[in-house]
Amino acid sequence: MADRRRAVRMCRSVWILAGIVAPAVCAAGADSGHFVLAGNEQVLQQWAQASGTAPPRLIEGGGGSDSTRLEWTGGVSYDFYGTNSRGGFILTPVRDDGSHNTAQIQTDVRSTGTDGALSWFTIGATFSDDRATIDHPMLINTVQIGHAGDSYRVALGDVPAGFSTLGTNTGLRGLLGEGYLGRTLFQAVAGVQADTWESIANEERRTRYQRNSYAFKVEQPVGEAFAAYATLQGYSDDSDAATAANTGLAPADGNAATLGFRFRQGGFSLSGEGGASRWKEQGQSSESDEAWIIDAAWQGEQLGFQAGYHDLGLFYSSLSGEALSGVSEVYGSASWMATNWLSLNGDLRHTENERSIPPTKLGQPVSFPYTPNAAEADSWSLGADVSISAIDGLSLQFSHSQSNGENDGGGANDQSNSAAGVSFSRSGWSTGFSLQQGDFENSAAAATDSETDGWSAYLGREWMEAENGSWSLGTTLTYSDQRQELDSGARNGSESWQVDLSGRHRRFGEFSALWYDGRVRDPSSGQMLDQRGIQFSAGRAIGRYGSIKAYYSRNDSFDDRNDIAYMERTLGVQLLAAF
């Protein structure tokens, strides 16, 4: 039954996609006579998008056309700080009390040849003896080496590969290349998905299986506004005993192929993609599935629309972090600048979540409820911004969002949030008041069914040296109050005052200070628990390339209840140099 339904769904989707693509291709073909080959800038921008690095710059050689130009930028920071904590690991991230050293370095070297070819090398790393910052003494943040010629690019290292929504959209550590043959763009990437560079060398540092991956993409523009593309990708987990023992997971492999298109003309855009995949977990049978997405948008001067349909099968698997499998959603949203004092935005959608329904193929008992997430939901939201023209600086904001869902096997899963606010600013003064209200009801997680109400208000003032803006000073006083009433009868709440002060002087540098003091209502005893803290930082430039900053923070929470009381304190100084 499920196979038949899937087949029907696939056939229908294919026909729909074909129906969309055909007229678009025809129309684009009619304009093909106006096509202009992509210039260097376009190519470079595309490369930047694909490689995730800043696009190479074509630099005119200062000494004539036969010169080569080398650019070197970099930065280094060093922090020396002391930490102190009380309350244990569960509530405070401080690992150990004492003094720590953390240094970060990043550098980028680019060489532009006489023919415009560009080579670059980028590396960034963190060194620290503070295990709350990095787990090991050294971490390579990013590393990449590459070369860009007139019609080809290659990069080795950290390469974000953004080929398509259903195909490949992830970061890999490996080799990426692309090149143009005529107007056809070919892209390929191969590498591993790994936690860190260090984890590639050391199995013990892996929290997941290292995933060997590859992907190809071919993209063909047709006319000025239309492009069609195909992608092919696959992966295979490196099986290792340490990760198996650590996670309890079996390694998996999979592959996927997708076809897609993009069309844009004026303010209208349309894009769609369909994909089929195979996924296999070691020791289990192979699963095949498909996915379809189509999105359209139109943006006028005052009105904009966006709508789309996404349908990704539960077992659809690819290299794209965007392809959340098991979700089917149809949506429409709009934004409208109705007048010069009123703007509205709205969103309407229907969602089905296959991940909330137990699959029949598992062959063993599952929890009931299977998940606390809605299997199906209808949602809408509406927002309005109103500018009161009669009173300069006064504006109102309203928003409401609601989702009415149903869990697997019945039972409500409803949520709503409302907010209203007014703000006013004039002559350096600013003030505002806002109200929030939220309702949550879920038959599968009834312990958290609750209603939450809150309000906050603030008053601020800014001063600035009028003549040339050589100094400025600002302060804001904020009060907020929030109460949550659970259906179980428990009640918690919080109220807090916060004062912040910040200033900047062209010669002496800048500072910021924040103090807060609040009380939290313990739902189990009704007791009010104190929570207070302070943060301060001040810094100034040293010469043209350097700066120094000192900082201090302290947070004391819930001293009246021993099992959750915690305190954390940090005092440090930072030196920074960038060139």
């Binding site: 390469v159 309890g248 998940t371 958290t448």
Partner: protein, 297 residues
């Protein structure tokens, strides 16, 4: 549940409307400033087709801006500012409503929520940034202020939208939304035990830490042995997302086992297998069975 017919009728109607609009748009005069032929097409409010001014030269700036945008998302999540969080999402994001409903569920279930990032690695370009990070989410349960912690590792994809960075997707474990997947941890203690100790009544504990299941009262773990015994354990919730039994009913019995009698019967030395089905393990995996084996020596 709405039938699949209704689902397809709705989808078909909307798609037909899109097709009609698309065909109608073909009649629009040719754009005087056409985009590059192979450029990325983005919806309203999505990434532009060209890098933002200044972005081409500042790799450090890109890294810092991407990090700041992620921090802004984290602060909106921690403070339960749903309206702000919603503004930072792209409506065309796959699984938008599942993601948002998960955030709302977390806001109702947790208090004093704080997320701490470690091992953060950022690769940023003009329009695309990949942030790989490990995270620790600390909280108090809304009902009784029991402290809890969930950990994971994420790969966050962000796209530049005009001058701002917006969340595009979260791969691996999702720190923001319990509905979007975090790999569960199944722990059995001890991992190995002697037959004598088992006979003497040494405790065997089993624990499931699954943030996606925060709020439910129990989860199910199945146990199987070499002599064909198969039992279903219901682990009660200790804190949101943490379920455990400190003493599993287990005994050494060489006689043929009786499945589903509430007692795990071990014939002697061998393996006892514990299995938990994680419905939403993250990393775009379908429902996955986690397995732990306890050796009886």
């Amino acid at each position: 549940m709405i039938s699949s017919d209704y689902r397809y009728r709705t989808a078909t109607s909307i798609l037909l409307a899109l097709v009609t609009t698309g065909i109608a748009a073909q009649g629009v005069p040719r754009d005087e400033n056409p985009l590059p032929p192979a450029s990325e097409i983005k919806g309203i409010g999505a990434s532009p087709t060209t890098p933002a001014p200044g972005a081409a030269t500042g790799a450090f700036e890109d890294v810092q801006q991407a990090r700041d945008a992620l921090e802004e998302l984290l602060r909106a999540y921690e403070t339960g500012n749903i309206a702000k969080f919603q503004q930072l999402l792209d409506p065309s994001m796959v699984g938008y409503q599942v993601f948002l409903n998960g955030v709302r569920r977390d806001v109702a279930a947790y208090r004093n929520l704080r997320i701490h990032l470690t091992d953060t690695q950022i690769t940023a370009g003009p329009d695309l940034a990949v942030i790989q990070t490990a995270w620790e989410k600390r909280f108090l349960a809304a009902g009784d202020f029991t402290p809890g912690i969930v950990t994971g590792r994420s790969s966050v994809l962000m796209h530049r939208d005009g001058k701002a960075w917006r969340l595009s997707a979260v791969a691996l474990d999702n720190p923001f939304s319990s509905a979007s997947g975090v790999l569960a941890r199944l722990t059995v203690t001890p991992m190995a035990i002697s037959e004598v100790a088992l006979t003497d009544g040494a405790p065997v504990g089993v624990e499931v830490r699954d943030a996606d299941m925060a709020g439910v009262e129990t989860v199910t773990v199945t146990v199987s042995t070499a002599n064909g015994d198969r039992e279903t354990l219901r682990l009660p919730s200790a804190t949101p997302g943490l379920f455990r039994i400190l003493t599993v009913p287990i005994q050494v019995d060489p006689a043929p086992a009786t499945p589903n009698n509430g007692l795990v019967e071990v014939p002697g030395p061998g393996n006892v297998t514990f299995r938990y089905v994680d419905p939403n393990p993250g990393n775009d995996r379908p429902p996955t069975t986690l397995t732990r084996v306890m050796r009886v020596l």
